[in-house]
Amino acid sequence: MKYAAKKIAAMLLTMVVVSLLTFTAFSLISGDAAEIMLGTQVTPERLAALRSELGLDRPLPARYLSWLLGFFTGDLGMSLQYHQPVRELIAPKVLVTLCLSVLCFLLITAVSIPLGLWSASRSGEALDGARTVVNQLCMAVPSFFTGILLSWGFGIALKWFMPGSFPDLGEDFFGAVKYLFFAAVAIAIPRVAMTVRMLRGTILTEMQKDYVRTAISRGAPRRRVLYRHVLKNSLAPVVTFLAQTMAEIVAAGIVVEQVFVIPGLGRILVASISNRDYLVVQAIVVILAFWVVLANTAADIINQRIDPRLRLGGDA
């Protein structure tokens, strides 16, 4: 428990650092929001007035603090482009993107762990080479391309979902999940292949360890050795790996959302970047960063539950 508390404290600190860096970076590159809003043909007096209205005349730390406070109270400022509160603009999209990442993550976990086990237990067989080729193929094909194929195949040809008409998450949750499912598959395929390869490698390494020999010397059948001993010992690196995958899922999601016409953060992020709508971009970057940091912290805490050697103070 102490360990978890420490991890969560570290997570919060990381989040502060991440948001501070993001905020500073955006302050440097975004230039003067007042100028962007008013254009260049404007009197210095009007500019100064708008600046103080927007709080731009205050020093950076003060602006950061009030922005951070705003972030947690839901006040993210106004979008320059859409003349709408940023929160209103992105809240429904955050939900869609989080749904997509969670779905994708569950898919990767549910598919790659059994596949990795299966692949490890079949190692050394004649088909091993073929399996490696399939695995590398899956790793090599980019998600947006798989996405185009899936969207065409299941959407346009089979009509299992209607590309372009994403059901509202609140009204038709299962319809929305079904729609997201195909995008999640597209993002998941290369990551499943990577996870399978890494789990397989870890299992095969663990199989060589002495404790496996001990279990066999006790008359343990292969399945027991695999499930009672090896799997658990192979899980910690996989959990870490999966958490790191969360960052990739988010990144791949931005592109794949475009392919599937999913109203998530990807679309608005791209639009806001090209419109220099930095408050929106900044909010999205920080939200995604928090999401990834959260996933990694969860992985650390899970690993500590798996491996007693990671527990501090020997509270086992």
């Binding site: 020999r213 279990a215 010397s217 008359g219 343990a220 009672r228 491996d307």
Partner: protein, 263 residues
């Protein structure tokens, strides 16, 4: 009770046979010592008995008879019924021989779980009894600990407990004290003696150290490069070694130790 007849083992990856025609007998209730320098084939001999040879990666021939039952060539499924149940193994490195993520208790119980359908409570009782028998202080506490929380000596006791909990006929001890420091080593030897006297379990005790074997074993066999070069009563071998290799092994024991060990 155990008879090894003309055992040959050759790994595909090696040119030389690891075991090149070994015949050995372990009698009921005795502790047989097996000595020889590192690489002489002691472990491979023991692993053959324990059914731990990587069968697909070596050629093997000969016979291993446990009470007349051939073990070397029986199918894996048959072998599994004997592994752990009739033959227990204790390895050199207790730290790596234990599953680091499993508490000591379940590891001690594992052999019971595999071979006997016992209620959980009964298994636990037997495990605690075994931990008590190997003279671990506070078995209840040890039962709930993870391997990394115990010292090497305590872990090796736990490994011995895990091997004897089901009361096998034969215990294979592959350099069980080599990784431990001298005082702990002496304690473990005493413990093995006591267990042997108490339950009559036969033991094959492997060591590269002749003076350790001398303290424990009635008979000793000496291996060199896959071959058995000498076999006999420990005292006879010790005082009148016939083979030059045995003479060298004895000469390698520090004199101080040799005198201390003299009866």
């Amino acid at each position: 009770m155990l008879e090894i007849r003309d055992l040959h083992v050759k790994f595909h990856s090696r040119d030389r046979e690891a075991v090149a025609g070994v015949s050995l007998t372990i009698r009921d209730g005795e502790i047989l010592g097996l000595v020889g320098e590192s690489g002489s084939g002691k472990s491979v001999t023991a692993m053959s008995v324990a059914g731990l040879l990587p069968r697909s990666r070596c050629d093997y021939s000969g016979q291993i008879l446990l009470d007349g039952r051939e073990l070397l060539h029986i199918p894996r499924s048959e072998l599994r019924k004997i592994q752990g149940r009739e033959i227990g193994v204790v390895f050199q490195e207790p730290q790596s021989a234990m599953d680091p993520l499993m508490k000591i208790g379940p590891q001690v119980e594992e052999v019971l779980d595999i071979h006997e359908k016992l209620p959980k409570e009964e298994r636990r009782r037997l495990a605690l009894e075994a931990l008590e028998a190997v003279e671990l202080p506070d078995p209840e506490a040890v039962y709930g600990k993870y391997p990394h929380q115990l010292s090497g000596g305590m872990l090796q006791r736990a490994m011995i407990a895990a091997a004897i909990v089901i009361r096998p006929r034969l215990l294979l001890l592959d350099e069980p004290t080599t990784a431990l420091d001298v005082t702990i080593q002496a304690q473990i030897l005493e413990l093995l003696k006591k267990l042997n006297a108490g339950s009559g379990v036969s033991m094959l005790f492997i060591s590269h150290n002749l003076s350790v074997v001398r303290r424990l074993c009635g008979r000793v066999a000496v291996m060199q490069r896959g071959l058995l070069v000498e076999e006999g009563e420990t005292d006879t071998v010790f005082h009148h070694p016939r083979h030059p290799y045995t003479q060298r092994l004895i000469a390698a024991i520090p004199t101080r130790e040799r005198r201390e060990e003299a009866p």
